[in-house]
Amino acid sequence: MKIRVERDNLADAVAWVAKSLPTRPSVPVLGGVLLDAGGDDGDGALTVSGFDYEVSATVSVSATIAEGGKVLVSGRLLADITKALPDQPVDITVDGARVGITCGNARFSLPTMPVEDYPQLPAQPQFVGELDGHAFGEAVAQVAVASGKDDTLPMLTGIRLEISGETLTMVATDRFRLALKEFTWKPADGVTGAAVLVPAKNLADAARSLGAAGSTVRLGLSSGEGMLGLSGPDRHTTTRLLDAEFPPYRKLLPSQYTSRAVLDVPAVTEAIRRVSLVAERGTQVRLEFTEGSLRLAAGGDDEGSAEEELPVTYEGEPVVIAFNPNYLLDGLTALPTDQAELTFTTPNRPALIKPLDDEGKVAAGYLYLLMPVRLPG
């Protein structure tokens, strides 16, 4: 192999692929990045890929190819090197079991790993529809906050993706809170419905980097092989699906409320951050609602206490409801707007947070459900 590529293109591609590689690969080759320059046909593309049986990532980079071929090198090392290269064209040549990287006056020689031990990269699953990359990245981030981190409950570590015609719904829950996002997209011809569970972390990583590119994201699905694919203009990623039942969540969403508060999100989040400084990990912040006012309080005699009062619009009986401050902040900071509505019935039943638009109306498409903390006594 003998090729020349632009430094920035190569660095971006390697950085993106290396990010999806396992930190501690079960076998060394899975920590590698595969550089594939194809045949010897002059101007063409170099593909940079990584795969660990769970996630795959592939980027094509335009390259001048003098001699085609494939080589497998340590992903971490290659990412560190390409990031540090000066801004000049990069020459990559393979000589026996070593690969040489030359850029300006800098020269690296790295050992390679056997390409024949590297697993076959998965094919892109069948195209099912497309959507705006930026909106997709934001939506996944809004939902991923509620996903579980506890891998003894795999069904809670995923984001459920539901396709129903032109509506795409994403939902995640760790049993303490649930986030749901619904939006319209362009399904492929003949695609009517499907529901799959995608590991939340993988989907969030992929959506973030594809969304950052800003262009259209194409979604592919292969239920048979249990795989989801996402593609941007020159990059593709696949992730294995979770083989688990997602809880039947629709019936858990409250349909009515007796208390409703309108919150100024920046003011309330700042106040929560302040008072929860005295709330130890896992303890609660208390929200005391009375007409026109919200008093936030946390802590107690032993650990120190804090309180702060804010004006709010509140309809309902005076009430004290308590939440884990981190869960509450996760929900408020995931909102796309500066005004939010908090509704609930009693202090021991689920509460709902929804974004409000400039006119004070509920902005459809997103909701964050939060279970309160039951206070003793």
Binding site: D151, P247, Y249, R349, M371, P376, G377
Partner: protein, 439 residues
């Protein structure tokens, strides 16, 4: 029982000498934590009724063939005798010592009285063992118009006057430094580590001075070229994580800079509840081990509910056919006393940590980080439907009425092949709490 770490000569200035003016003591501003450790506790209690033995080596130990030293006074320690050493070895080192059988009731009584004395100064007393406690006195200073070191001196005087035994006190801003300080104060002394000097106090010490560093971690650190606390403090966190793993690496980085997040925890002396079971025949069927975990989880959960406790860290202990033993722990998002949840975490740990082919000799489940269950409870989605906890509480009631076997999970009912033949000897090593670490 404190680990004795000698006070390096250049830092003798941290020691509070008897009879000196408190104005000359090290600055104890912000040193809210006291660690108090009785000196050679059992031996000291015996010497109260046998004053003629003072100055002679005295060793308290059982009389059985495989007994170990329970306590040795300082004259005996000069000969190299240590707690937990086999008596046979102690006799070789110090044949002329006086060997006394333990009088456990007397120890318990004095321990209770000493702990009650601590409570006169602050309600924040965390009893670590029969002869050792942490006190958080920061909230009591204004009321008592005093300083932490003065409280330490007062307690030392009271313990000696009321009970005729001595104790050593470490005064520091955080727990593990206070504990190191009391170890250096021994015997019959007090060491104050001023808040501003915690880091310089720690830096020259060996890595084993850090809380949580045992032989194994020390070896891992040595391999990474880290011998002293200073080495650990100066090492990049990434290097520490590489040497000892991610969680421990961050923990050690914090400690090496004198930061210890643990607070003095009052309350339940039960810090953990557990149960374990030794299989009659080493067991290589992971499903059988998983079922045994369910039985143990049921038992631990019932014990926790009976005591009104919940915990958020679940650990399992596994001993393999070759007697290697591992424990693995996982922290839950919220405290629980529900067997289903304990079992889910425990079997997850089992599946992650046991290679399929390995035969298991002993399995144990333990729940740590116990708190009173009356504290606020994070509710879950769907909690208003059937909750496992309600099911288990109903089962508790049925068992209370009709006996242990009245209600059991279905998977524990039918005999499953070879493993279910359990002889009386195969009974779990203890009821929940029997093997509880909290004392």
């Amino acid at each position: 029982m404190g680990r004795n770490t000698d006070l390096p000569a250049d830092r003798a200035r941290f020691r509070v000498a008897a009879g000196t003016d408190p104005a000359d003591w090290p600055d104890d501003t912000g040193c809210g934590v006291l660690h108090i450790d009785m000196d050679a506790f059992f031996a000291a209690v015996e010497l109260r009724s046998r004053p003629e033995l003072a100055g002679r080596p005295v060793i308290v130990a059982g009389s059985g063939a495989r007994s170990v030293v329970l306590s040795a006074n300082y004259p005996a320690r000069k000969f190299g005798v240590r707690s937990a050493m086999p008596v046979a070895q102690a006799r070789r080192l110090c044949p002329h010592a006086v060997y006394l059988p333990p009088s456990r009731e007397a120890y318990r009584e004095i321990s209770r009285a000493v702990m009650a004395l601590f409570h006169e100064f602050t309600p924040l007393v965390e009893q670590v063992s029969v002869d050792e406690a942490f006190l958080d006195v920061s909230g009591a200073l204004r009321r008592l118009r005093t300083t932490p070191a003065r409280i330490g001196a007062q307690i030392r005087a009271r313990v000696a006057a009321d009970h005729g035994i001595t104790c050593s006190v470490g005064v520091a801003p955080v727990k593990f430094v206070a504990k190191l300080a009391s170890g250096m104060a021994k015997p019959d002394g007090m060491v104050v580590v001023p808040a501003a000097e915690v880091v310089s106090f720690l830096r020259p010490l060996p890595v084993t001075a850090l809380w949580g560093v045992g032989d194994k971690t020390a070896r891992a650190l040595e391999r990474a070229g880290l011998h002293t606390v200073a080495d650990v403090a100066d090492a990049p966190v990434a290097r520490l994580k590489k040497a000892v793993g991610s969680a421990l690496g961050e923990h050690l980085h914090e400690l090496a800079h004198g930061r210890d997040p643990r607070r003095v925890e009052v309350g339940s002396p039960d810090k953990s509840l557990g149960a374990e079971h030794t299989f009659d025949v080493d067991q290589d069927d992971v499903e059988v081990v998983v079922r045994e975990l369910l039985r143990l989880a049921e038992r631990v959960a019932a014990g926790m509910r009976a005591k009104g406790l919940k915990g958020r860290t679940v650990s399992i202990k596994l001993r393999f056919a070759d007697f290697t033993t591992i424990t693995r722990a996982r922290t839950l998002p919220a405290p629980t006393d529900v067997a289903r949840e304990i079992h889910a975490a425990a079997s997850g740990l089992l599946r992650d940590n046991v290679p399929a082919s390995d035969a298991v000799r002993l399995v144990g489940v333990r729940v740590e980080g116990l708190t009173e269950s009356a504290v606020a409870e994070q509710l879950r989605l769907g909690d208003d439907g059937v909750r496992w906890r309600d099911v288990e509480v109903a089962a508790d009631a049925a068992r209370g009425k009709f006996g242990e076997t009245a209600v059991r999970p279905a998977s524990l009912l039918a005999p499953h092949g070879r493993s279910r033949a359990r002889s009386p000897g195969g009974k779990a090593a203890g009821r929940p709490g029997d093997s509880g670490a909290g004392t």
